[in-house]
Amino acid sequence: MNTKDVARDSYHLATRLEECPFNAFWVVLLDDGTEIYQSEDRADLKECSPWMRLKQLCQETGRKILHMAYAFRDGKGTQINCLPNAGGYFFSKRMRTLLTAHPALAGFTDDAIGVGYLRGNMLTVIWLRNDGVREEDSRDITENEPFNLIRS
């Protein structure tokens, strides 16, 4: 079987854009030309997250990610393109909440997704908040490698 079939049948990953149910989604290009798209989290699988199943696929088949992007089907957002041929790629979700009695901020919460790439030991993450604002942070992962980093 080729990687596309293995990804779909053994790792339950989306290998065609039509299988991706989201307007905004991550997409990666593997080193044999296979494209993998973000799909729904699956509570019925041992590993719910498609990103973590992609990590398993890469580790178990030796495939590497050449490029990663965060794309928008409707074209309303600007696609986030990660550095090509990076040392690794990262995807995460984030939630924040503020405990305060401040009149304007009490009850504030927000969600975000983060896509990132590794250069040396520095991981650069672009966070896209649910209000559309983008933030970027860089972190040295020498002593604490994120579990959701897929090394190339």
Binding site: D41, A43, E47, C48, S49, W51, M52, F91, S92, K93, R94, M95, R96, T97, L98, L99, T100, A101, H102, P103, A104, L105, A106, G107, F108, T109, D110, D111, G114, D131, V133, N144, P146, F147, N148
Partner: protein
Amino acid sequence: MNTLTFLAPSGAPASGTIIQQLTTPGNTSGANFLGFFGTGGPQGAPFAVIVDRYQDKTFITNMSGTNLGVAPWGLRASGQLINNKYLTSNTVNIDGGGSVAISTVPINSGTVLIRFVPSGSIAVRTQNATLRAVILNSTSGVDNVTSVVTGLKVQGFEPINDSAWTQMAGTGATDNQLPFNDHNSSLAQHDFFACLSASPEAVGQRNNFGFFMIVEFL
């Protein structure tokens, strides 16, 4: 929808109380604040914490530091939380019981429990969870949440996992956040406990700050 909620932990007099209850934007009279007081608590005397000393009582309060055990709030035990008073860099006084090594503090002695539940009963791992004490003012917004509170020392530690306080704010702070251990097991609920202590660096009521919790997960 993901939820991230501040609660009174099981060991607290106000066990199980949701701290953000009655909270709607603009509501400053709801139970949505952590109040650090002197030995009298929010109603007794002295209610104030002496400058450069740490608090003797901790309560869930509104912005005015009101006792919320009375109507219309009626919080259990007036919203009293376990008091974790800073003594030295590696000891704490829990509810006036004397000096205890931080490394031996049980998890349910936390001042607050911060519970993260991802949407859809999905099991996730967490990492880089941090708690910050941030300053807020009339022009503050979500972009300002990395601004550390000033004029107030805030100390914190994570019971079970830490053996020393982390100074989160105030003169001498080296790290402006309390980091929590990563949760490497996939779970549909993640609980973070924090012991918190505060000391004013100047005279006067302080209510222009908040606690900001950040969790990364997948």
